[in-house]
């Protein structure tokens, strides 16, 4: 399956870039996320609880960043091997464009494939579930990243805003999606999480 999309985030490009690379922010925004760890500058692991249909399960995923051109673009990819159940893998090219000092356009093209029993039984669930979860992520991400107080004051530190601060904001107030779209940075880990759940489902 191929997906493309773009999203306008009311924050400076640098801020968005750092947020995309910040484990704490990702943890807050990924639905069901328990941990996100930065293994290296280009590698994350995550533990996510995801529900597919009636089944909830926890999944460990790993994604890798390549072709890093901060703060403009990178490629994010991940792969889940399920042995007897098949495999899933995906990658996305992400580009950030500064449209205005505090308005960033995120564009991505993503491809994902599933194989084996997973494609046989779960292919259509992967798509729908990944979209739903990614939509959830996105509205959270937009509210977290949209700088409410001092949008221009991007500190050199990561914009790791504590969750309490975030909760005071009006969700999605600043987010104005041009059309329904997903942020690939989450789409990939979520995809892998969804695949993990499905792998677990189909091998039961």
């Amino acid at each position: 399956m191929d997906m493309t999309g773009e999203y306008r985030i009311p924050a400076a490009r640098e801020t968005v870039w750092r947020a995309l690379n910040d484990p704490e922010i990702l943890k807050q925004c990924i639905p069901g996320c328990e941990t996100v760890e930065k293994v290296s500058d280009t590698e994350f692991t995550a533990r996510v609880a995801v529900a597919v249909g009636p089944v909830k399960a926890k999944f460990n995923g790993r994604v890798t960043l390549t072709d890093l051109q901060p703060p403009e673009s990178y490629t994010i990819s991940g792969e889940g091997q399920g042995g007897v159940a098949g495999f899933g893998k995906g990658s996305a090219n992400v580009r950030l464009e500064a449209e205005a000092p505090i308005m960033t356009v995120l564009r991505y093209t993503a491809q994902a494939t599933v194989g084996g029993k997973l494609a046989q039984i779960g292919a259509r669930l992967v798509d729908a579930t990944a979209r739903k979860l990614a939509d959830e992520f996105f509205s959270r991400f937009a509210s977290v990243v949209a700088a409410p107080a001092e949008p221009g004051a991007a500190a050199p530190e990561p914009v790791a805003t504590p969750a309490e601060t975030v909760s005071t904001e009006t969700p999605t107030a600043a987010a104005a999606p041009a059309r329904p779209a997903l942020a690939p940075v989450v789409w990939i880990p979520l995809l892998i999480a969804v695949i993990g759940i499905l792998l677990w489902l189909v091998t039961r």
């Binding site: 042995g83 495999f87 194989g115 084996g116 494609a119 046989q120 189909v202 091998t203």
Partner: protein, 795 residues
């Protein structure tokens, strides 16, 4: 004397149903042997990949695991490949490309589901868990999912020995005569169509249990097979090199086959071989997902055809070009289905004097394709009956009239077609007339108008089909490339008290042989049906037989029983002559009695059998004791069931939903032994044909992943999809078997799909719709309606 209520022509209730309906059937998975282990087969998730490395060490050490084997282990033991049973030749006479088919993949996997490794463990769960621990490094290769992709220039190559992914490019018929006829044509009707790929989905998934007796060195394979002797021959001689005398194959109750259980599958060889390796019984049972990706699929043709007509609507010539998908490997009978079971049927019930058909069969990275209920004949029938409707439109003729005008006349039999077959008997006008009457064809326009008032598009479609059953004779089939005999056997063993056990080489997996055969014997030997037992499926008990496929069980297997009974009666007469002190020539056998003609002296059947086994007063010098006879029967020709199917539909133009309102089948299946069983067989076949026409479609994505791989995505027909099905027969007797029978197992799935599609096209024709593809799902029908409306608006 009144006809028997348990003999030929009686609707005897099926003897086997008691055990089936009360859950007492004995299927392969019900069989458990002491010390039995479970096998789990690791299958490839990639449609096409190099097997770079397989590390089974972790799995081998997992709890409960006894052994893990890969293709390399089988190669070390010199295990052979799964053989293909029919050699087809290219147009130039060179043999088809026949790639190896190892039971466990060697070096490369070629479809999603291809067998990579097997785990043998104490329990099914342990085997499954351990399979997760097998570390396989795949190097994915470009994959081919469809016929179109396979034949593209520069397409990925699945087999080095098969350039262009072509297994064979074959032809039948007189090309020159066809070309000449087309030049003289008044009109030419053309069609392009797809015969959709189907997944058989027998109710019982496949299973196999291998057993090895270290004391005797004997192997036993319990398996879900339609033909245990064929499996014994192929697996013993070609794959595992086990002498047939040391190999028993037993196919107990089997829950449906529809062709998919004819073939010798890898799992059968794997469990039998593994049982010998680990010296314990090994069982494998497919789950439903595995069935979807490992049972041979059916159909999958893309065809272009042209029919030349003269000014009176007479067919002058037919030209057909077909591409057939064989999947990644050659399944047992895959190669003959799109050739000798397809092109030979293209005359249909018509007098078309010249026919030419070319078939290019291709490899793809999909599950192997083989026979599925009808096997080649549904493909031929669908093509022909759709094309005849197109011809009717092109010539402005009535659909029924154009058929009548081209029917082979009743006095033309035996009729030699231009595509090798010789039809022995038939009356196509009679089945057509009977069906038109039963379907109230004449009153249809009134119903169409009534439906229109309700906002529905009503249509009616007809199909006048023929098919060929009981492939034969062996020597001709052999000359055409068959690598097996095509006879059938039966042993009629009369016990001392006059009860009878019939051992048949055919196999029953839903057809009701235990009843139909018992009726034959009850009638033939004049004994109560309760005194007849039918045994099938066990090579340790039955004589060498070819099994059940192609609606052959009665025409070939039943005839073998009749031949064996003839021998029993002949010997019985000798015994009776001795006991009654009469000349053998004066003994008549009738109604279960051996009587001296013209006298009241007689001996009951049981008295004769007792004398045979207690030969105190017996002509021992001239006659062996016992009453137990075996016959092998190799037919002189195919049989040719034919008939007429009529479908009536209503389409909702807003949703595209097609409702089948009524279905009428009038079939000529030759003499009917059990009308109730025939009706059931036609019902089942029609249901499958309707499934193909309206619902079923196997879908691979462009990467070669099977998407319609579960009941969620692959739509089987359900009770509420089916209309009332009116079934009737009109009999002309087969001229070359003693019962006059033709076969009824496949007529339903052969005749029905074009009737349904012709009906839908008829319903949509007022909108200008000319074609609709199978399956005619609501989406496709709706799109066709939208497309037609857009076109009309543009004009």
């Amino acid at each position: 004397m009144a006809p028997r209520d348990d003999g030929i022509g009686a609707s005897v209730r099926r003897k086997e149903d008691f055990r089936f309906l009360t859950g007492r059937g004995m299927y392969t998975d019900d069989i458990n042997r002491p010390g039995q282990l479970s096998a789990y087969i690791l299958r490839s998730p990639y449609p096409h990949a190099e097997l770079v490395r397989i590390d089974t060490s972790k799995a081998a050490q997992a709890k409960g695991v006894v052994a893990v084997f890969t293709g390399a282990d089988m190669a070390k033991d010199n295990v052979g490949g799964l053989p293909c049973g029919w050699l087809i030749k290219f147009k130039d006479g060179s043999p088809m490309k026949e790639p190896p088919h190892p039971p466990l993949a060697q070096g490369r996997v070629r479809y999603v589901g291809d067998q990579v490794a097997v785990v043998i463990a104490e329990t099914r769960e342990a085997a499954r868990d351990a399979a997760e621990l097998i570390d396989v490094e795949y190097k994915p290769l470009p994959a081919i999912a469809t016929i179109d992709d396979a034949i593209k220039p520069g397409a990925a190559q699945i087999w080095d020995i098969a350039p262009g992914n072509t297994c064979y490019d074959w032809e039948l018929g007189d090309k020159g005569a066809v070309d000449t006829a087309f030049k003289k044509a008044h009109k030419v009707a053309k069609i392009e169509l797809v015969n959709n790929r189907l997944i058989p989905n027998a109710m019982e998934p496949r299973a196999a249990l291998g057993d090895f007796d270290p004391a005797s060195g004997d192997y036993t394979l319990y398996t879900t097979s339609q033909n245990p002797h064929v499996i014994r021959l192929l697996m013993g001689a070609f794959v595992l090199h086990i002498p047939e005398s040391k190999l028993r194959v037993f196919a107990p109750d089997v829950g449906g086959g529809f062709g998919s259980k004819i073939y010798h599958y890898a799992e059968e060889a794997i469990v039998t071989w593994a049982a010998g390796k680990v010296k314990r019984p090994v069982k494998w049972t497919a789950d439903r997902s595995e069935s979807f990706m490992s049972d041979a699929h059916g159909r999958d043709h893309v065809t272009r055809a042209e029919l030349a007509l003269d000014k009176d609507g007479k067919f002058l010539a037919l030209r057909v070009s077909t591409l057939a998908n064989l999947g990644a490997y050659l399944s047992t009978f895959s190669t003959c289905i799109p050739t000798y079971l397809y092109a030979t049927l293209l005359a249909g019930v018509y007098t078309t004097p010249a026919i030419y058909c070319e078939v290019r069969a291709v490899f793809t990275n999909t599950v192997p394709v083989d026979a599925y209920r009808g096997a080649g004949r549904p493909e031929a029938t669908y093509l022909l009956e759709r094309l005849v409707d197109v011809a009717a439109r092109e010539t402005n003729m009535d659909r029924v009239e154009i058929r009548r005008r081209n029917f082979i006349p009743n006095d033309a039999f035996p009729y030699q077609t231009p595509v090798a077959l010789q039809y022995d008997s038939g009356n196509y006008h009679a089945t057509l007339d009977q069906a038109l009457k039963a379907a109230d064809w004449a009153g249809f326009e009134k119903r169409r108008a009534e439906a229109k008032a309700r906002g529905k598009l009503r249509g009616i479609g007809v199909s006048t089909y023929i098919e060929a059953c009981g492939i034969a004779p062996s020597n001709i089939a052999g000359a055409l490339g068959a690598r097996a005999g095509l006879f059938e056997t039966a042993e009629v063993r009369v016990h001392p008290t006059g009860t009878v056990t019939v051992f048949t080489g055919c196999h029953s997996h839903g057809q009701g042989h235990e009843t139909t055969y018992a009726q034959l014997v009850a009638e033939g030997l004049g004994i109560p049906i309760e005194n007849v037992e039918v045994v099938h499926g066990d090579t340790a008990k039955i004589p060498f037989g070819m099994g059940t496929y192609g609606s052959r069980s009665l025409a070939v297997g039943g005839t073998a029983i009749v031949k064996a009974m003839d021998k029993v009666i002949k010997k019985g007469k000798k015994i009776a002559a001795h006991l009654l002190e009469a000349a053998e020539a004066d003994i008549e056998f009738k109604d279960g009695k051996f009587a001296v003609a013209g006298t009241d002296k007689s001996k009951a059947f049981g008295e004769i059998s007792l004398a045979a086994y207690v030969p105190h007063n017996y002509p021992l010098e001239e006659l062996e004791p016992g009453l137990d006879e075996t016959a092998f029967y190799d037919p002189k020709n195919f049989t040719f069931p034919a008939g007429c199917h009529i479908a009536e539909v209503e389409v909702d133009p807003d949703t595209g939903v097609t409702q089948l309102v009524k279905f009428t089948a009038v079939d000529d299946v030759g003499r009917v032994i059990n009308p109730m069983i025939v009706e059931g067989q036609v019902h089942g076949g029609v249901a499958q044909g309707i499934g193909q026409a309206l619902l079923e479609r196997c879908v691979y994505d462009s990467n070669g992943q099977l998407l319609s791989g579960s009941m969620m995505d692959y739509t089987m027909p359900r009770a509420d999809d089916l209309p009332p099905i009116s079934v009737a027969t009109h009999t002309t007797l087969c001229t070359h078997n003693p019962l006059g029978v033709k076969g009824c197992g496949e007529v339903g799935s052969i005749g029905s799909p074009p009737a349904v599609i012709n009906a839908i096209v008829d319903a949509l024709s007022p909108l200008g719709v000319r074609d609709i593809s199978m399956p005619a799902t609501p989406q496709r029908v709706w799109q066709a309606i939208q497309g037609a409306q857009t076109r009309q608006a543009a004009e």
